[in-house]
């Protein structure tokens, strides 16, 4: 066989995998998509129904009496935990990137950057373990009560502070997991800015910080936004760490920032065993629909990030 044809064929495994994931999830989830309709996204209740009753037929589909599949609480949990993660990760990530690129001498910079990037290499379940064994007790006994005392006048920040498993803990652990993406991308981008720009800024009398803040960063706005969107995608799909610290709330919206939540990814991981108890199979198919929704959201977020970053690349090449 010709070399090029062979490479093209083996390389086709990448598009084939991507298409297979969407097609098979779609086919498998179709009965659930058809049955649940729009109320799937807006519904508040994920209820398998009476597992001991005989299935009844509604609209041509066998379901258990009382079964309903709504994932609104998961969508809220996913978005809120990602939002908190971003609110923490963006300022910290940007600050660390500036310090690494501008204030640290080259030799230690290499190793310090490596240390920060190692955060991205730590397995998700180890973050979960750390969160479960260290962060959750610390939050429950010290941080959350103190926060409720100081910030209790803000709606959502008051009592009850709960068990430590919840939205804020999940957001904080998530933020550590996504920060290296922002820092690494932005540090490279600051590094690659031409020295002439810095010199011009200094010559005009700007301090070193003003040079970074007013001259370099505005030029890197697209890189910053792109890397943040990329980090968002990562946070949306993160499973194990969230599963271990979020409290896995079912069918409730968080009333305070400390309250338990669940995310789509963590829900898929935690619910298959119980969904398999449903003899009609609709629960497992509805779970596939959750996976499909999560997959599509992640793909869109990721595509947006790539488009933003690709635009930056082509502008650099033209310049």
């Amino acid at each position: 066989m010709k070399f090029r044809a062979l490479m093209a064929m083996l390389g086709g495994s990448v598009p084939a995998s991507m298409i297979a994931v969407l097609v098979f999830l779609g086919i498998y989830a179709w009965p659930a998509i058809d049955y649940n309709g729009v109320s799937f996204l807006g519904g508040m209740h994920w209820n398998l129904g009476n597992l001991y009753a005989d299935p009844i037929t509604v609209a041509g589909v066998d379901i258990l009496p009382g079964a309903s599949y709504g994932i609104f609480f998961l969508i809220v949990g996913t978005l809120l935990s990602t939002l908190i993660a971003l609110l923490v990760a963006v300022p910290v990530g940007v600050g660390a990137a500036i310090f690494l690129a501008e204030a640290v001498p080259p030799r230690p910079r290499m190793w310090l950057s490596f240390l920060v990037e190692l955060l991205a290499a730590i397995p998700s379940v180890v973050f979960g373990l750390w969160g479960y064994a260290v962060v959750v007790p610390l939050m429950a006994h010290h941080v959350f009560p103190a926060m409720a005392d100081a910030l209790g006048w803000i709606p959502g920040f008051g009592e009850p502070t709960g068990s430590g498993f919840g939205l804020l803990t999940a957001g904080l652990v998530l933020s550590l997991m996504i920060v290296p993406l922002i820092t690494a991308t932005l540090r490279d981008a600051i590094d690659s800015q031409p020295a002439a720009v810095r010199e011009a800024s200094s010559a005009l009398g700007a301090t070193r910080f003003e040079t970074v803040w007013r001259v370099l960063l505005p030029g890197l706005r697209s890189v910053l936004i792109g890397s943040c969107v990329l980090a968002t995608g990562r946070a949306l799909g993160e499973t194990m760490a969230v599963l271990m610290v979020s409290g896995n709330a079912l069918n409730t919206l968080p009333q305070t920032i400390y309250a338990p939540v669940s995310t789509m990814a963590a829900f898929i991981a935690s619910q298959l065993d119980s969904a398999l108890q449903d003899p009609t199979g609709l629960a497992v198919r509805s779970l596939a629909e959750v996976a499909l929704v999560l997959c599509i959201i992640s793909i869109i977020v990721n595509a947006v990030a790539r488009l933003i970053l690709a635009g930056v690349d082509s502008r650099h090449r033209r310049a």
Partner: protein
């Protein structure tokens, strides 16, 4: 080109005192800014050391010889079954993902002008963004259910291989793109065919970058949990050599499952597994960093 002449904006006359106040304000702003930046870095480094410290401190105490020589029994025993399972699943993943991923990377780099290369690169970027739990569920409905493989090495390795494919494709493409075009031209001018040029010339000079891609795949398959939950299952026995219809244990499952148990012996196994996994993944990261450094020297 005319040089713009900088003049003070009209109407603004800075008094010496005002000027000093302004300067003080700017210096204060800069100091605050740097404090924020330094604080961020300290925070990140501190968190990193905190996590590592916890894993090492609690893991070392739990790392008894039995961890390496015994299989899991209830809430105690060792992790031999999980260590072996992780090794088997990772080996399967690398064996599956490397040829396909490298072929994809070679095609995307060497035939970058073709439509097919653009499609591969685009869908590779899309695949990177798919959450690993979604891939796990995909593996569950296709291989575990439809194909009837049940929880098995094959289902686990294929699922992880799909996860690793885009990373290997991307690192291979990056490594090969840096190889100068003159090298290819020289090869073709000497009468070598495309296969010869690619594997004797291009791949040889792009090798360090490609090795880091393979190491990354290894790190992913050792450290991932979510895609394995519904494809590998769990087993307290050693692997029986079957590729399908036989569940297999793995280290990350031990972390997740055993930390939730109310027994100290089970928790100790979780910390031991965390130390083994983290140490292995960090060593791989260090190795690929050193490879990249040696290349750039």
């Amino acid at each position: 080109m005319s040089v713009p002449v900088l003049t003070a904006p009209r109407g603004i006359v800075l008094q010496p005192g005002a000027r000093n106040a302004r300067l003080r304000q700017r210096k204060l702003l800069a100091a605050t800014g740097w404090a924020w930046c330094a604080g961020s870095l300290v925070l990140l480094g501190g968190a990193m050391l905190w996590i590592l410290g916890m894993v090492v401190m609690r893991g070392i105490g739990a790392l008894t010889p039995a961890v390496f020589t015994e299989v899991t029994q209830g809430t105690g025993g060792g992790l031999l079954n999980a260590i072996e399972g992780t090794a088997v699943i990772s080996a399967g993943t690398v064996i599956l993902a490397v040829p396909f991923g490298i072929a994809a990377g070679v095609y995307v780099s060497e035939y970058r002008w073709t439509q097919w290369a653009r499609i591969i690169r685009f869908l590779s970027d899309v695949l990177v963004g798919v959450p690993s739990i979604v891939l796990g569920y995909f593996g569950y409905i296709t291989m575990v259910e439809w194909l009837g493989w049940h929880f098995s090495v094959a289902a686990a390795s294929i699922t992880l291989a799909v996860l690793c494919l885009p990373y290997i494709c991307r690192t291979t493409e990056m490594a090969l793109r840096e190889v100068p075009a003159e090298l290819r031209e020289a090869g073709f001018a000497l009468g070598a065919g495309p296969a010869r040029v690619t594997f004797s010339l291009i791949v040889r000079s792009g090798l360090p970058g490609m090795v880091t891609g393979v190491l990354l795949a290894l790190a992913i398959s050792v450290g991932e949990t979510a895609p394995l939950l519904y494809t590998a299952g769990w087993s307290s026995y050693l692997w029986n050599g079957h590729l399908v219809r036989s569940p297999i244990g793995y280290l990350t499952y031990a972390i997740w499952a055993f930390i939730n148990e109310p027994f100290a012996s089970a928790n100790a196994l979780a910390y031991a597994a965390a130390l083994l996994t983290t140490a292995f993944v960090l060593l791989i990261s260090l190795a690929s960093r050193l490879i990249l450094l040696r290349r750039s020297d």
